[in-house]
Amino acid sequence: MGGDAGFGGGDAEEETDLQRARIARELITAVRGLPPEEIPEALCRSCAALLPSVAGLSVSVLGDGPDSAVVLFASDETATRLAEIQYTLGEGPSPEAVRLRAPVFAPDLRRGPDVRRWPLFSDQAARAGVAAAFSVPLAGAGGALGTLDLYRETAGGLDGDEVRTALLVADAVVLAVTALDRASADTAGVVTWLAGAESDREEIHQATGMIMAQLGVGAEEALLILRARAFAQGRTSSEVARAVIDRTMDMRHD
């Protein structure tokens, strides 16, 4: 097996976990101890610092339906306008990202496929001075909770590292918004909790579904219950998930 050296052979999962923890720590440190009304602005500054290559960004959270969303925070007027245009028209990368539960990118809103795909949105975005827009879903356990939206004033796509950072920032925003009040107040505790709160594994998804059925709760709450149990018992979410699947742990009985 010669010639195996030299293809960047580190452990991708470890690298991702490290970057995930770093981003989560930054966001949580930024909002810790703040009164609720100041949290959105602090989150916004942190997100912008983590994604320096875009002109601006916003986070929108879905209301009752996929077409109603409120802008939780935005780095500038253009970012606010961009989100409002899309959710008002029901057209553009953001509604599409919610529908597909996947990132949707429009690297050139002035010509080509993006214009054909979203004629109304691309026209209004261009008027607002936006040349490229990128939407990443805020991934909840069962579906999108909203979107993280980025824009640029010049056309062009995001590179691989930028995509990865954007996805991890979106994950951290979800954690910061949904999980903060469930975890202990000190940063170290929250980061420890996060480290054991990995959610994107098969057994965790399966156990989430089992808890939903056992307790009659939604996917988000089921996942939080699983994580809270893991934290309380000093185990990882995966370990608790396997116990739920083996039926050696049943959330109904305790």
Binding site: M1, G9, T16, A102, D171, Q206, A213
Partner: protein
């Protein structure tokens, strides 16, 4: 059916997802089962790269916990990650020679009764999307013919995954497509857990019931899973009267 007809049918089945009711879960499931059916291999799995940097299992011919664990040892490093990163197929005819290199994978493979591993890239033109893992209980390389066929099946599935609009596939759209398939897989796993409790059955059996339901009613497996998770569909439709809760 003779070999030639089997091959033709396999490629037609993988291309069948060009239809408007495209379902990535069915596509990946077909890919791994076709690999096991047509190639001299004992098990197959397909993983795709998550935009965050790791590999996610999309489908496997085995559904036991130990097998899933085997695949999870490969999400960050291992032959599949190498295959994805380099875009080149590779074979490990005897895994016991690789203990130092893959300290987690080797015991996991041996515990599951596998000795040899072959992996081919899942790629769209030259862009790597993931990798297909082929496992054998006996030592040895995949034949040259099987290795070529495995790649052809993987290429065919990758094309089907991307063939969703009349526009040429751009890098930006590839990310959307792959992540959308990953989201569908997540919903399927949650739905399996729900069905397991409602039907008081094992998770693996729950998965089979869901697949059977979707096939029998000619509905999308991805849509069915999402409807269950968002509670717009009653799980008793799939498992009858609840007695597990």
């Amino acid at each position: 059916m003779n070999r030639e007809r089997e091959l033709a049918q396999a490629f037609v089945d993988l291309a069948d997802t060009y239809a408007s009711d495209f379902d990535p879960l069915v596509l990946f499931s077909r890919l791994v089962h076709t690999c096991r059916g047509l190639l001299e291999v004992d098990a197959a799995a397909v993983m795709v790269a998550d935009g965050r940097g790791t590999l996610k299992t999309m489908a496997a011919t085995e559904d036991g916990a130990a097998f899933i664990e085997l695949l999870q040892t490969q999400t960050g490093r291992g032959p599949c990650m190498d295959c994805f990163r380099t875009g080149e197929a590779r074979g490990i005819p005897d895994i016991t020679a690789e203990r130092d290199r893959w300290p987690k994978l080797v015991p996991a493979m041996l515990d599951n009764g596998y000795r040899a591993l072959h992996t081919v890239p899942l790629r769209l033109h030259d862009r790597p999307l993931g990798a297909v893992t082929l496992l054998n209980a006996r030592v040895g390389n995949l034949s040259e013919g099987d290795a070529h066929l495995a790649q052809a099946l993987a290429d065919s599935a990758a094309l089907s995954l991307m063939h969703w609009s009349t526009e040429p596939a751009r890098v930006d759209d590839v990310i959307t497509r792959v992540q959308s398939a990953i989201a569908a897989k997540t919903a399927l796993e949650i739905a399996k857990g729900m069905i397991a409790v409602y039907g008081n059955i094992e998770v693996g059996e729950a998965g089979r019931r869901l697949t059977d339901y979707a096939r029998h009613h000619r509905v999308s497996l991805a849509d069915t899973a999402h409807a269950l998770v968002s509670r717009t569909m009653d799980p008793t439709v799939i498992v009858g009267d609840p007695h597990g809760s």
